[in-house]
C-alpha cells in the first residue's frame, strides 16, 4: 500500500468580524470607517472593528493510504467541512501543506450547478462537467446514470418540473458515476427517501470496496460509516481527536458527544440536557415507539422568574421537525438559586426512523444559553417507512 494523501501541519483560520452584522464587507462601511478615523483622532480606537481570528483547523497531520475508506466524524463545527473544502481545493490552507496523488473528485453537495430551466439530459452533462467529467466520460455512463436515477421518461423535461425525489436521484446518479482515484463525499446520503438512501449506500459501497477507490466520507450516519469505512478520523474542535479503526473511533466519538454539559463559570450557571429513553440516559439510538423525555438541569446562582426554554429537533436536512417551548404550553419556568430540573416529554411514534439533531436554548433573565450549540445527534430506528413522521393507523372493514 502506498500513501495517496499526506497532510502536514494543516491549519485554517477565518477572521470573524464582530461588529458587522452582515456576513460580507460593504464598501460603504469601509469608506465610512476610514473617514471616521480621519475625522475623529480623539477616539479613533473605538471605531476599530473587533476582529477575531478563528482557527477552524489547527495543525493537523495525517496520511491516507491508497484504497482506504476513511469516515470523518465529529460534531458540527469540528472542522470536517473545512477539511473537505481544503482537500477539494475550494479554499486554501492558512498554514501547512497537503500532497495528493491522482485525480480528486469531490461531492460536497448533491446537484451542484443543476439549472432548473434545463432538461434532465442537459443537466447530466452540465453537472458532470462541473464535477470534472469529460464529455466522453459522461457519454459512456449516460445510460447507466439514467438507469440509476430512474428518470428515462422525463429526460427532456426541465428539472424544475421534477419532484424533489427525482431531482435528488438524478443528481446522485451523476455523482455516483465519477471515476476519480480519490473521492471526497460530504453528508450527501442524508437526502431522498429511505429506499433511495439504501440504494445510494449500496452504490457507494460498490465504488469504494469493489473498485478499490480511496474514499473520504463525512457523515453523521454511523451506520453508513460502519458499512463503508475501514478507518475513521474523529475531529474535535479543529484537531484530530482520533484516527484509526472504526469501532474505537466510535467509542471515542461517543465519549465526546455524551457530555452535554455547558458551564459558564463567569456567571455561575451550569446547564445540561439529557435524553431519557426508558430510564436510559442518552442512548445511542432509540426506537420510533419509545417514549422520549428531555431532562434539563440548570444550576443557578440566583432566583429568576419568567424564564424561557425551548428544545428543537431538526432532521438531517435542517428542517425543524419538533419545536418545544414552555410558553406554548403556558408552563412558567421559575428558577431558584441552586439546582433545578425540568422534564419535557413528547408523545411516542412521532419521529420516523432517521437521524435527527436536537439542541436547547435557555433564556434566564437577560442571558441566553445554547446548550450544545454543536448539535447532538439522535438516531431513531424502526421499520423503514416512508413519510416524514412515524404513524400508526387503525384499519377495519366497514
Amino acid at each position: 500500500m502506498s500513501k495517496i494523501i499526506e497532510v502536514r501541519g494543516l491549519s485554517k483560520s477565518y477572521i470573524i468580524n464582530h461588529e458587522g452584522k452582515e456576513s460580507y464587507t460593504a464598501l460603504r462601511d469601509v469608506i465610512a470607517h476610514k473617514t471616521k478615523k480621519i475625522f475623529s483622532f480623539s477616539n479613533w480606537k473605538s471605531t476599530e472593528n473587533t476582529k477575531e481570528e478563528f482557527w477552524a483547523l489547527k495543525d493537523i497531520d495525517f496520511d491516507i493510504e491508497q484504497g482506504d475508506r476513511v469516515g470523518i466524524i465529529g460534531r458540527n463545527g469540528a472542522g470536517k467541512s473545512t477539511l473537505l473544502k481544503i482537500l477539494s481545493r475550494i479554499t486554501e490552507p492558512t498554514k501547512g501543506n497537503i500532497k495528493i496523488k491522482g485525480r480528486v473528485a469531490s461531492l460536497l453537495e448533491v446537484g451542484t450547478g443543476f439549472h432548473p430551466e434545463l432538461s434532465g439530459r442537459e443537466n447530466i452533462f452540465l453537472n458532470g462537467a462541473i464535477l470534472g467529467m469529460s464529455r466522453a466520460e459522461i457519454k459512456t455512463h449516460f445510460d447507466a446514470i439514467v438507469d440509476f436515477a430512474e428518470v428515462e421518461k422525463f429526460l427532456d423535461t426541465p428539472v424544475k418540473r421534477y419532484s424533489s425525489g427525482m431531482y435528488v436521484r438524478l443528481a446522485f446518479a451523476v455523482a455516483a458515476h465519477l471515476e476519480p482515484e480519490i473521492l471526497i463525499v460530504d453528508e450527501v446520503l442524508a437526502v431522498g427517501d429511505a429506499q433511495f438512501q439504501k440504494k445510494c449506500l449500496g452504490k457507494m459501497e460498490d465504488v469504494s470496496k469493489n473498485e478499490g477507490r480511496t474514499v473520504l466520507f463525512v457523515s453523521h450516519n454511523m451506520g453508513a460509516i460502519q458499512r463503508l469505512c475501514n478507518n475513521v478520523i474523529v475531529m474535535n474542535k479543529g484537531v484530530i481527536g482520533f484516527q484509526g479503526e472504526v469501532t474505537s473511533g466510535f467509542n471515542y466519538y461517543d465519549s465526546l458527544i455524551r457530555d452535554h454539559k455547558l458551564t459558564n463559570n463567569s456567571s455561575g450557571f451550569a446547564l445540561k440536557i439529557d435524553l431519557n429513553v426508558k430510564g436510559q440516559l442518552n442512548p445511542k439510538f432509540l426506537h420510533s415507539d419509545d417514549d422520549i423525555e428531555f431532562i434539563i438541569d440548570i444550576e443557578s446562582p440566583n432566583d429568576y422568574t419568567e424564564n424561557f426554554i425551548n428544545v428543537c429537533i431538526d432532521n438531517s436536512v435542517g428542517d425543524r421537525v419538533i419545536h418545544l417551548r414552555n410558553d406554548f404550553e403556558h408552563f412558567p419556568i421559575d428558577i431558584k438559586k441552586g439546582k433545578n430540573q425540568f422534564k419535557i416529554s413528547i408523545a411516542k411514534n412521532l419521529l420516523a426512523p432517521s437521524i435527527y439533531y436536537y439542541w436547547c436554548r435557555v433564556v434566564i433573565g437577560n442571558q441566553q444559553f445554547i446548550i450544545d450549540s454543536d448539535l447532538i445527534s439522535l438516531e431513531v430506528k424502526g421499520e423503514v417507512i416512508s413519510g416524514l413522521i412515524a404513524h400508526k393507523s387503525t384499519w377495519e372493514i366497514a
Binding site: 460593504a26 464598501l27 501543506n97 500532497k99 460536497l108 439549472h115 430551466e117 452533462f125 462537467a129
Partner: protein
C-alpha cells in the same frame, strides 16, 4: 517542514498557502469543457427564459440608435465625417458599445451569480467571467444581423476593411474581460460595489463616441480621449464597416490601455481567487 523539493515531484498536487500555482494555466486548459458547457448554459438559459430574450437584443440597440440619430444629428447637428448615413454610423458604434456594456455588467456579476459553484467545486475561477462574456457575444451576433438589414435598407456597401472586423471584436472582448475580471473580484469583496457598476456603464456611454464621431472632439483633447479604450474600438468598427477615417495613433494608445486593463484584471483576479470561497 523537512520535505525536500525532489520529494514534491512524486505527488500530483501540492496544496499550500500562497503557493504560486504553476498548474493554473494547464488546469484552465483541462477545464475547457466546463468553460464550453457553462457558456452554453448561460446562452441557453438566457434565450429559454424570456421570449423577449432574442427580441431584446434587437429592440434595445435599434431604439437607442433612432434616439441618438435624432438627438445628435437632427438636434445637435454634429458632423458626420464619413459618407455613410448618420444612423449607420451610430449603429456601427452602438454594436461594440452594447457588447462592451453587456459583457461588463454580466461578467462583473458572474462570480456572485455562481456562488453555489464556487463554494462547492474546484475549477479555475477565470472560467466564470469568461463564459459570461461569451454570452454577450451572442447578443452581439444578433445585433449584427440588424446592421446587415440596415445596410440593405440604405443600399450601403461596406468597405473592404470589413475583413479586419474580427480584430476589433477581439479587442472589445479583451477590454470587457479585463475590466470585468477586476470588477467581479471587487464585487466578491465589497458586496455593495455592484450598485456602482450601472453608473460606471452609464458614465462610460457619455464619454464614448457612440452617438457621434470621435472626430468632433477637439485636437487638444484627442490624446486624453484615447485613454478610453472604447474610443479606439469604436473608431475601428466605423473604419471597418463604413470606411470612416481612422486615427491610428490614438488606436495604438487604446490597445495599450486595453492591455494594461487586462494585465491588472488578471493579476488582481488571480490574487483574490484563493479567497473567493471564503468571502462569497
Amino acid at each position: 517542514m523537512k520535505t525536500t523539493k525532489s520529494n514534491n515531484e512524486d505527488w500530483d498536487l501540492v496544496l499550500e498557502s500562497g503557493r504560486a500555482d504553476k498548474h493554473y494555466w494547464k488546469d484552465l486548459w483541462r477545464y475547457r469543457e466546463l468553460f464550453y458547457i457553462l457558456s452554453w448554459r448561460d446562452i441557453k438559459v438566457r434565450y429559454k427564459q424570456t421570449v423577449l430574450g432574442a427580441a431584446w437584443s434587437i429592440i434595445r440597440p435599434l431604439l437607442t440608435t433612432i434616439i441618438f440619430t435624432i438627438v445628435f444629428s437632427k438636434i445637435a447637428k454634429l458632423d458626420n465625417p464619413g459618407n455613410a448615413p448618420y444612423a449607420l454610423m451610430v449603429f456601427a458604434g452602438m454594436l461594440p458599445w452594447q457588447f462592451f456594456s453587456n459583457a461588463l455588467s454580466e461578467s462583473s456579476n458572474s462570480l456572485i451569480g455562481n456562488a453555489n459553484l464556487i463554494t462547492k467545486v474546484y475549477f479555475p475561477r477565470l472560467i466564470i467571467p469568461a463564459s459570461s462574456v461569451i454570452t454577450s457575444l451572442v447578443d452581439f451576433a444578433i445585433s449584427f444581423l440588424i446592421l446587415i438589414v440596415m445596410m440593405f435598407w440604405y443600399h450601403y456597401i461596406p468597405s473592404w476593411h470589413i475583413v479586419f472586423l474580427p480584430v476589433f471584436i477581439i479587442l472589445a472582448f479583451l477590454c470587457a474581460f479585463g475590466v470585468g475580471l477586476y470588477l467581479t473580484a471587487v464585487n466578491v469583496k465589497y458586496r455593495d460595489f455592484r450598485y456602482i457598476i450601472p453608473f460606471i456603464i452609464q458614465f462610460g456611454l457619455y464619454i464614448t463616441p457612440v452617438g457621434f464621431s470621435s472626430s468632433v472632439i477637439g485636437e487638444k483633447w484627442k490624446s486624453l480621449y484615447a485613454l478610453n479604450p472604447m474610443v479606439g474600438i469604436i473608431d475601428g468598427f466605423r473604419w471597418c464597416i463604413l470606411g470612416n477615417p481612422m486615427n491610428w495613433n490614438s488606436f495604438i494608445f487604446s490597445v495599450l490601455v486595453i492591455l494594461v486593463f487586462l494585465i491588472i484584471g488578471v493579476t488582481y483576479f488571480r490574487k483574490m481567487e484563493k479567497s473567493f470561497a471564503d468571502n462569497i
